[in-house]
Amino acid sequence: MIDNPLYVAVLDGDARGARSAVEQALAAGADPQDLVSSFMIPAMDEVGKRFDEGEYFVPELLISARAMKSGMELLRPLLAETGAKPVGTVVVGTVRGDLHDIGKNLVASMLEGGGFKVIDLGVDVGPDKFTAAITEHHPDIVAMSALLTTTMPGMKATIDELTRAGIRDTVKVMIGGAPVTKRYAMEIGADAFSESASGAVREAKSLLNA
């Protein structure tokens, strides 16, 4: 536990409190980047830890993520001015033919809470859309989700398309979803696999050595 009102507000999922704490800290001359790295991200790390230990469920996690987002709305313009960057950028989407998005949305929220910039392409995303998004946004990671065994081949098709387009080496590929396994990830040439949303954040940070 860190004895700081911003840390506590994010941990407790108090969006109004987080915003207020940021305002007060900035008024007192705090460094925006320091607020993020010293209080907000550690608070989200603690939320993730409590989730992993079974003390928190996703609703608490989402409420904390919203509190962080509330504070970040004030900080983001200031961070942009100083050239501060997110932990990394991740393009996420559910693969072609698959409309399941609960898991994908959760991963996106968790990544945002972990300090990543997330570009969410939605559901039923074909290889061409992933490729176009990578070309446009230059992410560090592309994260694909599938719930159906019949749509899993869309992951390999996307990796093949990235290779064909000559951009496979510019981005790390992470996959997940109920029927997806680590072995499948290895078979299709993905760089990482996670069976949970919180695990996805850890994998993403590991991929970037963050």
Binding site: G54, E55, F57, V58, P59, L62, I63, G97, L99, D101, I102, N105, L106, G122, V123, D124, L148, T149, T150, M152, P153, A178, P179, S196, A197
Partner: protein, 463 residues
């Protein structure tokens, strides 16, 4: 939609002793001499493809796989001397988007089943479950557009292709429910299940029942798979509290009843774990799944669903090779033996069946609230509270309050064990439930405003 009074006045099942496997107040006759709910539990087998892309180039292989699965499953059922068999063909989404594909596989399966019927005299039927593909478009058009029209085409071609029963896993209201579930937002869940879903169910099932009536097949039932099973899966992954998943299960009952109000007669879908409530209220036979469905998904409901089932199902299994045989054969093997046990217990009379029911219930109910709310006595107590209410919204609200009450009493009596974290959540959810107004009009107006920026089209629900 009119806020109609539920057509089932009171409970169809009069006592706890009558809510038992194999027996439903209103049995269903279907297919080739098959009767469901008239005293015997019937195995219901479902199977699906291993990972494969569905395309013109893979279609011959897909047809071959379905042929092999159906043939092998029927052969095993015959070898085991199974007197009855229900087969469910749940299409893969591309087979509903292009209904000719769904009809083609239905026809293929029916042809094999008819051959087995003729040769071996097994009483059997084929249930066709098209996908609810309307949410392929986001936000979904619920009452028009290509996806809806192709669903109707597959409904209409079901009988001609050889299906005996029609079912669906409908998703109206899921646009709101998914987000509300992840946020444990009970009023959002009630808006989805108590306001939006019933309106869609009435529209959808009016069409399905009419088509079944016109083509001479059975309009069977729906499931809250996209709602309550999503909650169950999330709870099993420790993403949401188990008590929330239990409440969502009970809150999905009024939604499911709409199908029967519109004229569906059962059996309800296998993955509708809320089925015992349908049997208690509407008197329809129900299909259930439990440990037999571990091939498809894990759940805390292994034995207790069997306690009240009329069909016993495996949910679905991929056509992969196991040590003994292909997985669909293994599944039908397990189902047939399970049904033998249930039917043997019934042959011992009511006492035998009730003793087995008690064991099936008590082996699960203590350990998980989702199991506890499926105990026959709990089902009947909550069902009684549901049927007192005149509209789906008020029924949903009543179901939640009654379920919270039942879970709390279960914990106090020692019949249910909840962790401290789960107890904390039960209290949080009770606080939310107590804020649900009895004024449906006011609630609806509040929710329309609350979710005005959400990815759904209120007018698609007649709002």
């Amino acid at each position: 939609m009119n806020n109609r009074v539920i057509s089932m006045a009171g409970l169809a099942v009069a006592s706890v002793e009558e809510l038992v496997f194999g027996h439903a107040p209103h049995p269903v006759k279907c297919g080739n001499g098959l009767t469901i709910g008239a005293g015997r539990v019937v195995p219901e087998i479902n199977f699906t493809l291993p990972p494969v892309e569905i395309s013109p180039s893979t279609w011959p292989e897909i047809e071959l796989q379905y042929t092999e699965m159906m043939t092998a499953v029927c052969e095993r059922a015959v070898d085991l001397g199974a007197p009855e068999l229900l087969v469910e063909f749940e299409t893969l989404p591309p087979m509903t988007v292009d209904p000719s594909l769904g009809a083609s596989i239905t026809s293929l399966l029916a042809s094999i089943l008819h051959t087995v019927q003729d040769r071996h005299g097994i009483r059997s039927a084929l249930r066709l479950t098209p996908n609810d593909t309307r949410d392929h478009r986001r936000p979904p058009l619920m009452r028009s557009g290509d996806y809806w029209e192709n669903m109707v085409r597959l409904f209409s071609s079901a009988a001609g292709a050889g299906a005996d029963l029609l079912a669906i896993e409908s998703t109206g209201g899921k646009e709101i429910h998914d987000e509300a579930l992840m946020n444990a937002d009970l009023e959002g869940i009630v808006y989805a299940l108590g306001i939006l879903a019933p309106r869609d169910m009435e529209f959808l099932w009016r069409h399905m029942v009419q088509i079944c009536h016109d083509t001479g097949i059975v309009a069977s039932g729906d499931t809250a798979c996209g709602f309550a099973n999503t909650a169950m899966a999330l709870a099993s992954q420790r993403m949401i509290p188990k008590v929330l998943a239990a409440l969502v299960r009970v809150a999905s009952v009024p939604r499911g009843l709409i199908a029967f109000q519109q004229g569906a007669i059962g059996p309800s879908k296998d993955c509708a774990y809320e089925g015992p409530y349908f049997k208690a209220i509407a008197g329809v036979p129900i299909s259930m799944e439990g440990r037999s469905a571990a091939c498809a998904h894990l759940s805390p409901l292994g034995n207790i669903p069997m306690a009240t089932c009329d069909c016993w199902s495996n949910e679905s299994v991929q056509n992969v090779r196991l040590l003994s045989a292909q997985a669909p054969v293994v599944s039908v093997d397990q189902l047939v033996f399970d049904c033998r046990l249930l039917n043997q217990a019934s042959l011992d009379g009511r006492d035998g069946a009730l003793l087995l029911r008690k064991w099936l219930e008590n082996s699960d109910a203590l350990l998980d609230p989702q199991a506890y709310i499926l105990k026959a006595e709990i089902v009947l107590s909550i069902a009684a509270r549901i049927v007192e209410q005149p509209t789906p919204y008020l029924q949903t609200r009543a179901a939640l309050i009654a379920a919270i009450d039942a879970l709390t009493k279960g914990v106090h009596s020692g019949e249910l064990v909840l962790s401290a974290v789960e107890l904390h959540w039960l209290n949080r959810l009770e606080s939310q439930a107590m804020l649900l107004t009895e004024d449906e009009e006011k609630f609806t107006a509040q929710m329309v405003e609350k979710f005005k920026d959400s990815p759904y089209i209120a007018s698609e629900y007649g709002l």
